[in-house]
Assembly symmetry: C2
Homo-oligomer: 400 residues x 2
């Protein structure tokens, strides 16, 4: 397929299956400068489906760079109130939201002070966590191939060839190569839902991850249940929050996480900073030591953002049947990489399915940063409420 | 000068003289997709000057095109509430605002239905008129050369050469070629202020424009006074709302405009639509007949936007000493072209200097569209309150 056709198919998938845009809805599209071709295709697909308005917001990482380089120190964490108010208004309007993912620059902040860089969380906004928890918007995140991203993934290929290759990968993992991508995603969402149901039947109290550099036990809340793929708004609109999605995830107990964990893939933050070889030690739920081969300072800055930033808000399990895992490619982008391997997240948790009491206990933070901790060498074991140990993932394969 | 140096000088001028950004201020930058180089330079200059945040908003005309092509008919004039709320919040925050001007596409909407196109006013927002009238923000508009704009102005030159030529023009009219552009603009602002003071001393009741296709008498309100160049916020920050600025302008009586007027330059609307050979007949202040060689339908649509859209909100006089007028180039952009020639505007007027009673009488509308009606062949005569006729502009030269 030509790139224009792939762009159109991906846009259509984001609108029709990912966000599941309804006629008359306002649609928010979040893109970086440089992602305009897919953003415009998404706008066209949304208008063709009857959207009442498509609000494309472009974030410019070069403006962020100017801020970190020159803005007064004390202003670096400031965010104008209308940024968050817009998100909350999207929720009130029961809008659809589509975000484009993937790096659009490489090394843009590398020569700048990492402490200063760490203070500016944009384009992340804490209000997004409220909007997600309230389930007022039908939303999705889809990957957007760009030249800088392709060069990061395929540094040895010429720019145009690298971009073609990345588009092929994205077409593969987004199932754009299926005769009916919509049907393919409905089928995959059913399968992941079945795994979640079987995990929930085990009545787990904790999960334990064991592998090279990793021995971490993550306690669950009494009402923690595993979710997968399909979400539903308060108004009953189903959507796939991530495209692709391969994970089965839950909200852990923020006070019962102990041991140490080593990341199995690089983590690329929203601002393009790459964290490699991340190692974190937890005590009583709290990250008490953070080391990394690259980017440790930025990561410590993120974990110090607020009280909840050093505790876990998510644990997610991914098996080796994932098309992303099968490719074996490191994409330097959380959306794809987190769907290649099991992962955990520092920061805000999800209310989804939690009891009133557990909602009060789950982690709260202005950040949510996923990082990959799973691989074929990492075994995941469930510890049931009756103390029984149940193998969940061994050699990357589901045991349930 | 190299283009990078010109970009830096123009950005610095916009920040230091145009908006006159104060340390600690939030700075809003409004740009089109394609104007990112100057937008980034403005952000850098603002942060260097101590801005607390620079909020660059990119408008994408291709997304607008998708809307006009595909959105449901009844949604085309809808604007999400957060668009206007952001502007009002900028006012409440006493922010600075910098807008980049100039076409960024050519003919993008030409194959679409002009009635549908006329219903979508974006990126124009009616709340901007409130923010301007309240004088809560120190703001400026500066030209931003782009390839599509350069091709429009210099269609016979190769793209790169056309862009170089347009940059030279912009450097000339923005006085970037002066040893100290800041001092040059302070001097020019003083001179224009003197002309305004002399006009005000004449106690005019009306002005009459006479020339080819034009014989229009525009009544003034009892407290109408002429302004030029420098504005001042409620907080006492002076700024140049337009860079370049060459005009001396006032708010007319919306019920006392009679006769006919022919535009002397093409008018380019915010969405890129070009109106050529515009002719309007006024009766009792109202535009009762609108014709044009090109774009008459779009213009009639704009004039039907609301009750005030068919009446005048501004009359501005420009003499032939204008550097823009001297170049003799048609820039297809109101910011530059309106500073080449005398002009009038359909739509909202200004409160500036009006008495309480006249504020109640001045024109109100959700639009404000300037079009050029002056040339060396158009004579402007003042009609004083005592009936005396005073020549104001003859052959393009001030007579006062």
């Amino acid at each position: 397929m030509e790139r224009a056709e792939l762009t159109g198919r991906l846009a259509e998938l984001a609108v029709a299956v990912g966000a599941n845009v309804q006629p008359g809805q306002i649609v928010s599209v979040s893109a970086d400068h440089g992602q305009h071709e897919l953003a415009r295709a998404v706008a066209e697909a949304a208008y063709r489906r009857g959207a009442s308005f498509v609000d494309v917001v472009y974030f410019d990482p070069y403006v962020k760079r100017a801020r970190i380089a020159y803005a007064p120190e004390e202003t670096l964490s400031f965010v104008p109130p209308w940024f968050g108010q817009r998100l909350l208004a999207l929720g009130e309007a029961r809008a659809a939201r589509i975000s484009l993912s993937g790096p659009t620059t490489t090394g843009l902040l590398h020569d700048l002070d990492s402490d200063r860089a760490g203070r500016d969380q944009l384009p992340f906004l804490k209000e997004i966590l409220t909007v997600i928890a309230d389930r007022t918007t039908n939303w999705t995140v889809v990957p957007c191939p760009t030249e800088p991203w392709a060069q990061l993934v395929y540094p040895d290929l010429p720019a145009a060839e690298a971009l073609d290759r990345l588009w092929l990968d994205v077409a593969r993992v987004c199932r754009l190569d299926e005769p009916d991508p919509v049907a393919a995603w409905n089928e995959r969402a059913d399968a992941l839902g079945d795994v979640a149901a079987r995990l929930n039947a085990l009545q787990l109290d904790a999960v334990q991850l064991e592998g090279p550099g990793t021995d971490l036990t993550i306690g669950l809340l009494p009402s923690s249940i595993f979710h997968a793929a399909r979400d539903e708004t308060v108004g009953g609109i189903t959507h796939l929050a991530n495209l692709p999605t391969e994970e089965v995830y839950t909200t852990p107990d923020p006070e019962r996480v102990d041991g140490r964990v080593r990341s199995t893939k690089p983590l690329v933050l929203a601002d393009g900073t790459i964290i490699r070889g991340l190692e974190i030690r937890f005590e009583g739920g709290r990250a008490v030591q953070i080391d990394a081969e690259q980017g440790a300072g930025v990561m410590r800055g993120r974990a110090a953002f607020d009280e909840g930033a050093a505790r876990l808000g998510e644990v997610a399990l991914v098996d080796r049947e994932s098309r992303i895992g099968q490719l074996g490619t490191v994409f330097y982008d959380t959306l794809l990489d987190e769907n290649a391997a099991s992962h955990i997240a520092l920061g805000d948790g999800f209310d989804l399915g939690l009891s009133e009491e557990d909602r009060g206990r789950r982690n709260r933070s202005g950040i949510h940063i996923d990082f990959m901790v799973g691989s074929d060498e990492v075994t995941v074991t469930g510890i049931a409420r009756d103390g029984r140990r149940v193998p969940l993932l061994v050699g990357g394969s589901w045991q349930v």
